[in-house]
């Protein structure tokens, strides 16, 4: 570099400038090296953990809030004192910014308290491997309620969510499957909500099971078999009615006399419940017949109008 003034001060300034330039170059080099080394994880959220199940539902807040207001305003005005904004906040706080494999029931306690409501006696309908059919039934017969017909279940049905320690705290790309870790936001939520739904049941309760499933209609590993059965309160629940539904024209893997049903009955009897089991409970079977009207099982009585 030319030094027109040859004074010491000018030389000092030049050294300073050169020093700064070298520092800047080193910085740029470091940044380039760092980005090259982390190249594989350079996506939208470079630091978020990656999982195998679908991510948080987009517009989760709008969906949850809308469903909450829809439920208490348009469908169940007797729950008018519920605060949907608080309910949303308590759901969000349960999982945002947390590692999605470390969720505990305590995380959901505030939400459960804010959103739970009593269920009238004789109306609780439990289900296992018959979700679609059970919900079609409660839609057409409002005398029964599944968990997904209560405020908590209604808001969360078919929705997924999980957090991540890095910003923005919600993972929209992926969420852990149960096989990856059990204490994930979805599994913990449904386990808790199911427990509370069972605890709240009173009078006669109903359960719809699938008699066309190879692995057996009643399984101890299902939420019904592991959580709900054991949280029914014998002081409140008098009877359990089992509706054993087989697919129309489908395999008749099990009926009320079947192995797993006998096991369920003995578990329930031990807890002092009276049990009634019915194969292909007719009102529900009629719903199945909508999709199979020509099957012999679906023929109507000839002496009706």
């Amino acid at each position: 570099m030319p030094l027109p003034q040859g004074s010491a001060r000018a030389r000092q300034r030049t050294v300073l400038l050169v020093g700064i330039a070298v520092l800047l170059a080193a910085l740029v080099l470091a940044v380039v090296l760092a980005s090259l080394l982390t190249h594989g994880r350079h996506e939208v959220s470079p630091q978020m953990l990656k999982w195998k199940d679908r991510g948080t539902t987009k517009n989760l807040q709008e969906v949850i809030l809308g469903r909450c207001y829809n439920y208490i305003t348009a469908q169940h005005p007797e729950l008018g004192d519920k605060d949907c904004l608080k309910i949303w906040e308590s759901l969000k706080d349960a999982f945002i910014y947390k590692n999605p494999c470390n969720i505990t029931p305590e995380d959901y306690q505030p939400l459960m308290e804010l959103a739970s409501h009593p269920v009238p006696c004789n109306k609780s309908l439990f289900w296992s491997k018959t979700g679609d059919l059970a919900h079609r039934y409660t839609k057409s017969n409002q005398n029964f309620l599944t968990l997904e017909d209560t405020l908590l279940g209604y808001m969360a049905d078919k929705v997924s969510w999980c957090g991540d320690p890095s910003a923005p705290g919600i993972n929209y790309e992926s969420c852990p499957k149960r096989s990856e870790c059990e204490s994930n936001p979805g599994s913990v939520f449904w386990k808790m909500a199911s427990k509370m739904f069972a605890e709240a049941a009173c009078g006669v309760v109903q359960v719809m099971l699938n008699g066309s499933v190879e692995a057996g209609a009643f399984r101890s590993s299902s939420i019904f078999g592991s959580v709900e059965v054991f949280n029914l309160d014998p002081d409140k629940v008098s009877e359990v009615h089992i509706w054993l539904m087989q697919d129309i024209g489908g395999p008749q893997s099990e009926s009320c006399s079947g192995h797993s049903i006998q096991r369920l009955i003995s578990i329930l009897e031990e807890r002092k419940f009276k049990i009634i089991c019915e194969d292909n409970y007719r009102p529900v079977q009629l719903l199945q017949c909508v999709h199979n009207p020509d099957h012999t099982d679906c023929r109507l009585c000839t002496n009706s109008t």
């Binding site: 709008e62 809308g66 469903r67 207001y69 305003t73 909508v290 009207p293």
Partner: protein, 233 residues
């Protein structure tokens, strides 16, 4: 002031929430929609206006934003049997009734109206059809029905209530006045009418009789291939 129910509380949250519920969960096949924009278009149809002066075309922009294809052979029209239709249509999986489209889904079972010279919604009361025809809710459903009919194709189904007072095919009625006139004849291959009586209900109307006969004649005159069945299994 008016005789009808006032605007549903939290209407905005419900409408926006249902919009996202529909595009994210119920029917993601419709693709990306701007739900805030949809709410604005919906609201602007009726706020700051005399609540008796709302016309179907005021909802045009709302319809533009919410329109999507209705799969051929899945349209299900109905009169006087909404719960039956919902359970039969299976939330769009078997049939797609008006309530299973995005534009119908966001408005179902809700009430709303505005007031002249004020941007607010009237939560106290809203006019009934008897008080004035051109109210916000009725005009909404007229526009939605017109749109639904215009975009239906293939085999279309009509579910009528054979036990309804006054007949299965009501006139005046949405199907008679807004849907039939807007069916696109060149897109429709057949019209299948089902007349279903309430269980243990009276058999007031059936195929070939009274109002159903009127309907069948009208549709045949318009050039449609029509079939009719009583008490669908």
């Amino acid at each position: 002031k008016w005789k009808g129910e006032g605007t549903t509380q939290n209407l905005e949250s419900i409408v926006i929430g249902r919009c996202y519920d529909y595009i994210r969960i119920v029917n993601p096949a419709v693709g990306e929609k701007n739900c805030s924009q949809i709410w604005e278009a919906f609201k602007n149809a009726f706020i700051n206006k005399d609540p008796c002066s709302i016309l179907p075309k005021d909802y045009e922009l709302f319809i533009n934003f919410t329109l999507h294809t209705i799969p051929p052979n899945k349209s299900l029209f109905w009169e006087n049997n909404q719960l039956l239709v919902n359970s039969f249509a299976d939330r769009g999986r078997r049939y797609m009734s008006l309530g299973d489209t995005l534009f119908g889904f966001v408005g179902d079972f809700l009430y709303w109206c505005g007031q002249a010279d004020s941007p607010g919604l009237d939560y106290e009361s809203c006019p009934t059809t008897v008080e004035c025809e051109n109210n916000a809710v009725d005009s909404f459903w007229r526009m939605a029905s017109i749109t639904y009919a215009q975009h239906s194709s293939g085999v279309i189904h009509v579910l009528l209530n054979g036990s309804a007072d006054g007949g299965a095919y009501p006139q005046p009625g949405f199907f008679a006045d807004y849907e039939i006139p807007n069916l696109q004849r060149d897109k429709i291959s057949q019209i299948v009418i089902w007349v279903v009586d309430d269980i243990e209900g009276p058999d007031i109307d059936s195929c070939g009789a009274h109002t159903v006969k009127t309907l069948e004649t009208r549709l045949k005159t318009l050039g449609y291939d029509v079939t009719c069945t009583d008490n669908n299994k």
